[in-house]
Amino acid sequence: MIWNEEKECMSLEDMQELQLKRLQDVVTRAFNEVPYYHKRYSEAEVYPEDIETLDDIEKLPFTTKTDLRASYPFGLFAVDQKEIVEIHTSSGTTGKPTVSGYTKEDLDTWGEVMARGLTMMGVDENDIIQNTHGYGLFTGGFGVHYGGQKIGATVIPISTGQTLRQIELMKDFGTTMLIFTPSYGLHIAEELEEMNIKPSDLNLKVIGFGSESWTDEMRTSIENKFDVPAYNIYGLTEVMGPGVAMECSEQNGLHLYEDHFYPEIIDPKTLKHIPEGQSGELVLTTLTRVGMPIIRFRTHDVTSIKHGKCGCGRTLAKMSKITGRTDDMLKIKGVSVFPSQIEKALLSIQGVEPHYQIILTRPNNLDKIEVKVEASPDIFFDNIKELVGIKEKLAEAIHDEIGLRVTVNLVEPKTIDRVDSGKAVRVIDKREE
């Protein structure tokens, strides 16, 4: 079923017409009502009437997380605070968080886009959604909550944690949809295994997951453990929250609700648009948000966008799974490389633990990549030839993934530097020294 056939199956032409109308409207409102935009646009000498086509969006300055932080707390609101009915914040690792304000209409839009996604996953009013995303200042829990209510499903707002309780409710209430982050989902699966509860003992029919980076292997593992399909949910608090884009039954990309969120893909270095289908940084503009218009927000998420009719019948833009963060992106010999690609290559070989470190050097002005991988019992043999063979196999897998030659070195377990949080230091770039 399709929740909003008119919008989700619109022709590209009609969609672009709607987007342009809405873009002109949001830019005008932002310029008139939000001092931040008024100042930025005046400085750049670009005005609402300069937006005559969708491509004219490139004339507008970007909005960054730093800009949002500088406007703390309510500086980006386009309406009186009394019109704002809900506030969320996204955690800031440094300094103040960024605030996201919603009017009644905004919450309605949020519920609408999430309703589309839940419908896409085959969920309706007969379903019981157990929502393990956190309810609180973070947007995690609420998107699914509003969408679930909009389609008339029964929502269990349990939040994360209390895994035994989660399992008890899954059984007692006959939960049909689980919402979780991949890591928490795998934790629930472990508990189920330990309690000897099989998927067939549950009433589960579908999983929605998000709020974390993930790999295809993780999805496969989740689908195998729960024996139901699992679909990705994408979103970010600054723009709205989860529900900006969601996966359909095809599982080969996420439909982006482009009548509400206008997507651009830019080259993070030149900041210019790149051709459709190519990978770059996602930039989002809220087309309908009333309380807090966000124009050209740099997400730092790397993806690509394609148009065309999807196997599920929708024509909405399709965004590929996020492949990395521009913050993590390395330029090596002119090629964009993400640590996640190296990790993927390593995990493609049985028995390899994802404990690695990338060391970049530039001897004789040529980039050199060394990847240190911690040895594990499964890839240790009492035979030098076989160990060298493993090294070469790993280098080959990485080459297949990134297209560059690397030197792999096996190191002893737990020798790769870890920062205080216990996370490994993934990249050491010595090229600028």
């Binding site: 040895a375 009492d382 035979n383």
Partner: protein, 144 residues
């Protein structure tokens, strides 16, 4: 077939790593009966003969080492010219490929024991036995 259990340890080819490892074993009061090191520029395999390899393996794993129990064939070599060659000729005549070998000294004896690792262990063991090579009872080596 009674093989001798040897302890193979993954070790980085870095200054002090062998010393540190042997130091740990000393602290654990492990008596090393035999030792060899095979290495590349970056890493290597430290092979040890100890009295209780299963226990030492666990103790090393608790200290984040990667260790494996592997099997070798201990053969007594007489202290006379060509002692080792006689054994190697048996292997060669039967197309048995040697992965590596190293020697362990025997206390109060002029003889040595050579530890053999072959590509085909079971076949090699049989051939050595058939050719009357003096295969040593592993228990005798654990208790040297």
């Amino acid at each position: 077939m009674e093989y001798l259990k040897q302890l193979s340890i993954f070790i980085e080819n870095k200054e002090g790593r062998i010393y540190n490892t042997l130091h740990i074993l000393e602290d654990l009061k492990v008596n090393i009966r035999g030792l060899s090191m095979a290495d590349t520029a970056e890493f290597g395999i430290l092979r040890l003969i100890v009295a209780d390899p299963v226990k030492v393996k666990e103790q090393l794993e608790e200290r984040d080492y990667i260790a494996k129990l592997t099997e070798v064939i201990p053969v007594l070599i007489e202290d006379q010219p060509g002692g080792l060659n006689k054994i190697l000729k048996i292997l060669d005549d039967n197309n048995l490929n040697l992965e590596y070998l190293y020697a362990v000294a025997l206390k109060n004896s002029d003889n040595a024991i050579v530890l053999l690792r072959l590509e085909e262990m079971d076949k090699g063991y049989k051939v050595l036995k058939e050719n009357n090579a003096p295969i040593v009872d592993p228990e005798k080596i654990y208790s040297i």
